[in-house]
Symmetry: C2
Subunit: 167 residues, 2 copies
């Protein structure tokens, strides 16, 4: 990989609540002073920009990379012939303390699984990749298990095991 | 600068037709086999993502960098405390042969000005920074002057002077 930033994954079936948990986790980690980068990977072809915008027009015209720079942030869209894979995407990240990835299921980084009993019968991630389970029911799991509300507990685990800064 | 990619600017008053010319120019340069990167800088605070999208929610929660990766491209949004300036943005670019910048008026790269007589009395860019003028009226300009339709002429000039590959 192009850098050695700590990477964790967020896994779980659709509608298990990954986006909401991730939102809370970002807020909590930022509150603790960490800079968080997020990568979401999808197998679907998604429009990366809003149709009609200048940047969208330039990408459609064939620009490889289109950047919109503003006083408070920068957005960049890059087109690829084929899916660049997680390493290339991770290497685009700098200036963060932790990268949280949703998607790229086959990635070998430690993963937090969001589990809901109504959605699936058992967690999807094999034990050896499982950093923790966040579940709506008590689970007989070898990995640390947290309730859906216990964002502080998850953040403590990330600090201790991944960021190695106590917690 | 973080890299030594050729950079040119596209300048001109609002409504002079910059976006349309740039679209045509990207298409023409891509047809000639060049990979083009585009940077558009604005002084306005613009929403970098579509409200409600997962990536938008994660950025709002406080993530420094949010990436959406798809099989055909990657979009990245990075937040800054203050405007990062052109060098930092240019350094985000790689894998292109030419960077075309709209905005950052004080940048010292060679510029193409799009000029319309109805919009302003005379071109805005000082002669020493002017690579070419693209104008709706014949101009008594020391810089090469092209009509709004002569995208091939502009591309030839860019090839010869900036990319130094003939043309």
């Amino acid at each position: 990989m192009g850098n050695s930033l700590p990477v964790i994954g967020l896994a779980g079936y659709s509608n298990s609540g990954k986006t909401t948990l991730l939102e809370k986790l970002i807020t909590e980690l930022k509150r603790r002073g960490y800079r968080v980068g997020v990568i979401k990977h999808t197998h679907h072809h998604v429009e990366l920009d809003q149709p009609g915008k200048d940047t969208w027009r330039h990408a459609r015209a064939g620009a490889e990379v289109v950047v919109l720079a503003t006083p408070s942030g920068v957005s960049l869209a890059r087109s690829y012939e084929s899916d660049p894979g997680p390493e290339a995407v991770i290497s685009m990240m700098d200036g963060v303390d932790l990268i949280i990835i949703e998607g790229y299921k086959r990635g070998k980084w430690p993963k937090i699984e969001v589990y809901r009993h109504v959605v699936s019968e058992r967690p999807a991630i094999p034990r050896e990749e499982l950093l923790a389970v966040v579940s709506d029911v008590p689970l007989d799991s070898e990995a640390p298990c947290f309730t859906l509300d216990d964002v502080a507990g998850v953040a403590n685990l990330i600090e201790r095991v991944i960021l190695k800064t106590g917690g």
